[in-house]
Amino acid sequence: MNVPDYFIPLVVALPLLGAFLTPLVSRLSGKARNAFVVIVLGVNGILIGLLASDILTNGIRTYVFGATDLSLPVVRILFEVDAMSVFMALIAAILSFVGVLYSLSFMKEYSGLDKFYTLVLLMTAGMLGMMLTGDLFNFFVFLEITSIASCALIAFWTHKGESVEAAFKYIIISAIGALFILFAIALLYGQYNALNMAVLANSIQYTFLDKIALVILIAALAMKAGLVPMHMWLPDSYGSAPAPVTLILIGTTQASLYGAFRVIFTVYGGVFSDTAFASNVIGAFLVILALATMLIGVIMALRQSNLKRMIAYVAVAEIGYMVLGIGVRLNAALYNEVTQTVVWHPYTTTALQGSILHIMNDALTIGLLFLVAGSIYYATKKISVDQLGGLARKMKYTTVFFVIGLLAAAGMPPLNGFVSKLLIYESTYQLNPIIAIVAILASIMILAVFVKVFHAIFLGPEQESLKTVKEVPKPMLIAMGVIVCIILFFGLFPEFVITNIVEPATTAILNHTQYIGAVLGGV
């Protein structure tokens, strides 16, 4: 289906406009505001769906601000949308919609909700902007919008010291990360007089300064994505934020990860197709960090007694799987002496496909687990595993959702986590068996973590203090149900998802010449 050009900026503009209209609408009534926010995000989701169907059939699209054609693309701000961008935008759309649906009941008893929904919409706008933009400075601006909004949301429960403490950690990490990204952007700008990713990718020379910029960009984006050893902020902020905010926060960390994909495979894509050494070194580094992330994430998760912090550490471990694909792809590059080009084994593409599919799966499964943790908190007002027990009798649906979430997170067939993890295992095995062994080990440990928790929380005798617990209200069940339906669909029809969404996204992210050509025309 063909959509008009203005759909591309509209996807970001709609939540942005909605954000600033929310306080006005909430003057009418709380119900009007809730309906308004749900409608804005629902319509936005439909727009993203239409845009995705267009991009996936017709290929890359650009939108230039302040011009009807692509004249002077070097100095204009533009949005460039390829299959990878819409893939990420779909995740953002699902997460923000479900998060708001869940908040309708979850946040009901708190005051200041007009500000809450304003910030949620701002965060969504920033996240989508990061995913659709084709300009590095624009990326920085949207990154800061997202950081500021999500920091304010982490600190939303200001009556709790923990929330404010976690938010302060988060804003310090975000500010440093964003400033170093800006520094790297300035390094690139100083050499090539361009901020546009396609123009930069076209003219990059891989000078000494470019190497510094690349390292700073990868390090800062990995910090924002929560890669070990820069993960310390992630369990704190995921654990202290309200559950729906945590759900959308997963989207923001993945937007940073998308930034890393874009920088490595598009801006520096030409460099890595010319020299194998650079990509081998960076790839090895990323593989080691990814393996460390998995192991440290699950080992720390085993030690936690707070349910949300435990899931947050598992979320750290899952980030490792996504970065592993990038690392394997870069590390397995071989320089062919005869043709003087870099060649990749087909398995590296499979690894990248596994990583990209895992971005979606992680958002869904970890998001579902956080929502279940939020439901348990909502029903019992307790979050420590030691104080809970025997909830399966009281909360039937929540129990079922938790089981599905834990099996999906541990990569059990026939759920979605199995598909992406199998792709990662079978491809990384060919680079080095140890990588696959560590990845499988981490998955088994995730299962161990959650089976223990499941037994402690849902099974066992009924506790005296939990006699009055009731099932959570319908909007929360519907929100979790939506995610469960998508998880089941992804698990039962993996072929459909991989051929229609993941393969185009992988092809798009690897094809940097096409990305350049869409802006500069037939390069």
């Binding site: 100095v75 400075f137 601006v141 800061e144 950081s147 500021i148 920091c151 304010a152 600190a155 200001t158 709790k160 010291g161 923990e162 404010v164 403490e165 976690a166 938010a167 302060f168 804003i171 310090i172 500010a175 440093i176 400033l179 800006l182 520094f183 300035a186 700008y189 100083g190 007089n193 901020l195 704190d236 654990g239 202290s240």
Partner: protein, 114 residues
Amino acid sequence: MIYNIPYLAVVALVLIGLYALLFKRNLIKMVIGVTLIESGVNLFLITLGYRENSIAPIYTGSPGGIMSLPVPQALTLTSIVIGVAVLALMLSLVIHIYRHYGTLDVRKIRRLKE
């Protein structure tokens, strides 16, 4: 050599900011560290846009000669505005932390376990 002084200032500002973040125990000083890094990056952007004897890029009635590209200035302005927002948010969080914990010492603000 004289043209390198701004770049040296950039490095100095960023390093002092990082030092404050890593070794200072007071939250306000850490916030100052972040703003120092921000100033360093802003100075870097502005320095990149500088050309000797250049004029502002206004085409009507221009006396001729080199014009400096306005993009770095625009970037710096945007960055300053974002920096103000981040600074305000950080300071308001510091106020909240002081209310809850009664201290600004990072060693005592440790309710979130490892």
